[in-house]
């Protein structure tokens, strides 16, 4: 699991059938020093995270498989919206 910041939303008409109705967000991985990762990642969200929220993303597909079936390719899932987190001098929170 890792911390990430939500940057926006993804619109897709053509997708794997198990992903119909899923909400897809663009996230950037947050490092301990406060920097963000260079590549955006697409995550599935069932918690209602929005742009600017800090979240925890799990890379385990078990939750997605339980919800979407054994054949789903979904893997990265928002498993929590961060209220407050601290790493050294770096603080993140959804209100930040």
């Amino acid at each position: 699991m890792f911390l990430a910041r939500i940057g926006g939303t993804v619109v897709s008409a053509v997708k794997h059938p198990t992903l119909e109705g899923c909400r897809f967000l663009i996230a950037q991985r947050l490092e301990a020093d406060g920097n963000v990762g260079p590549e955006p990642i697409v995550v599935v969200d069932w918690l209602g995270a929005g742009r600017g929220n800090s979240v925890i993303v799990s890379t385990d597909g078990d939750i997605a498989r339980a919800k979407l079936g054994n054949t789903t390719p979904a893997r990265m899932v928002v498993v929590g919206i961060v209220d407050q987190a601290q790493s050294g001098e770096t603080r993140v929170g959804s209100s930040a």
Binding site: G8, V10, V11, A13, K15, P73, A74
Partner: protein, 106 residues
């Protein structure tokens, strides 16, 4: 999932039996910098993924990596570790929409 731009296709002959009839695309992962710039560039290290959605050259897809990439073939055991899960129509980021494919940034 990461984002990637379809740059081409791979034809295999021979290949492992479970790859028969599959489409393989070459993907160039997209960096945040290029996504925000909307310049149609990728910037990441290319990889090969299975595509069952019919993604065209220049289109942006989101691809799953790791064990989950083989889930669509369940219960069959297929040695796939990258799979095109969706074709991107648009991305709404930093209050501006970034479109897919060759229209990026226009």
């Amino acid at each position: 999932m990461r984002l990637g731009i379809v740059r081409g296709r791979v034809v295999l002959n021979p290949a492992v039996a479970s790859f028969s009839g599959r489409t393989f695309v070459v993907l160039e992962p997209v960096t945040m910098e290029n996504l925000i710039a909307g310049n149609g560039l990728g910037g990441g290290k290319s990889l090969v993924a299975v595509d069952e959605l019919g993604a065209a050259d220049g289109q942006m897809v989101a691809f799953t990596e790791g064990r989950e990439a083989a889930n669509p073939f369940w219960p069959d055991s297929v040695p796939v570790d990258a799979y095109c899960s969706l074709i991107v129509d648009s991305i709404n980021i930093h209050a501006k929409a970034v479109s897919s494919g060759s229209e990026v940034g226009k």
